[in-house]
């Protein structure tokens, strides 16, 4: 029925279309994860700011600016299975919880609190006055509208091993992130994240964010 020179045509079509479809699906998952994590950090940051503002004392401004950075694991279709690549996500939120009729002393506590949260580290000792022109580390003529963060240094490291043998196969992989944020006044906040995953004897064991 089929001419000799058309033998295997369907197989080749499957090989091309199948691999292209798989690649497209993998990229779709990657983009989906990226959007999901971005939404997650934006909403999480607002809630964290809300909670932090509520936790402020009666003699504080009860106003919070929350700067949040998280380095998340997002697999890439083009990378090896033993590599767990990371992508940095960030969001900020400003919440004013305060009852404005509260009388406060005109001191540091009355200034809005600035929280910088980098992976597992949360620095919440900053006040808005720390970033005003002329304060320590800030030039006198620094623009008032300059962003809180002036530089971010990320270092993502991954290691892993894939072994296939006649009896069984195993996979182990780990990744870590180390991020340092430099603020407008020259102060730095550093945070890290790590995770590991292994597959052996037919089951997966994973931990870490």
């Amino acid at each position: 029925m089929r001419p000799g020179n058309q033998k295997g045509q369907a197989m080749i079509e499957f090989a091309i279309i199948g691999s292209t479809s798989l690649l497209a699906l993998a990229f779709l998952i990657q983009i989906g994860l990226r959007m999901n994590y971005q939404q997650e950090i934006e909403q999480q940051t607002f809630r964290l700011a809300l909670r932090r503002a509520q936790d402020e004392g009666d003699k504080e401004s009860q106003a919070i600016l929350y700067q949040h950075i998280r380095d998340r694991e997002i697999p890439e279709p083009s990378s090896e299975p033993t590599i767990m690549p990371r992508t940095s996500t960030q969001a900020s939120s400003a919440v004013t919880w305060g009852e404005w009729l509260t009388f406060l002393a005109d001191d540091r506590d009355s200034q809005p609190r600035v929280v910088v949260h980098v992976n597992d580290t949360r620095a919440d000792d900053f006040r808005s006055g720390d970033f005003e022109g002329g304060k320590e580390g800030v030039k006198k003529d620094a623009p008032k509208d300059a962003p809180l963060v002036s530089a971010i240094h990320n270092q993502f490291t991954s290691t892993g091993q894939l072994t296939q043998a006649s009896g069984a196969s195993s996979l182990s992989s780990s990744s870590s992130a180390s991020t340092t944020v430099t603020l407008k006044n020259g102060k730095t906040v550093s945070g890290s994240a790590s995770a590991s995953c292994s597959f052996s004897g037919g089951s997966w064991v994973c931990d870490g964010p």
């Binding site: 600016l65 590599i83 940095s88 809005p112 600035v114 990320n154 290691t159 072994t163 043998a165």
Partner: protein, 123 residues
């Protein structure tokens, strides 16, 4: 004379043919060996002989895969001014909250060290 030479030519041909055939038969062994050697060396260029029933181990190790990114913030969203109080309530708190990042300059660098190891037991 002529009568005695009858059949000489045929005998010579027969002997010569026999020698040629014998040579081919004997050389066939060496020709086959040479051809098999050619096939073996051609096959070996693709790697070791693999038999899934035999003992084998293949290992791929990512010793380190490192991505370094340096982000310099160039511009940001204007900050938020929280109003101080009204003239009636002058001590109500206020201040300026710095803006967030809008435009950045990014420098990224990636380096890696990957090794592979394969062990096969040939049979």
């Amino acid at each position: 004379m002529t009568h005695r030479r009858k059949g000489q030519s045929s005998l010579e041909m027969l002997v010569l043919g026999g020698v040629a055939v014998s040579a081919l038969v004997i050389m066939a062994v060496y020709v086959q060996r040479a051809y098999q050697s050619y096939l073996y060396s051609s096959g070996s260029t693709h790697g070791l002989q693999f038999d899934p029933r035999g003992t084998y181990t293949e290992s791929s190790t990512v010793n380190v895969f490192r991505q370094t990114t340096d982000v310099t913030v160039k511009t940001g969203q204007p900050g938020v001014d929280l109003p101080t109080g009204t003239p009636d309530l002058p001590s109500t708190p206020g201040g300026h909250v710095p803006g967030r990042i809008l435009e950045t300059k990014v420098r990224a660098q990636t380096d890696w060290d990957i090794s592979r190891k394969a062990t096969y037991e040939a049979r």
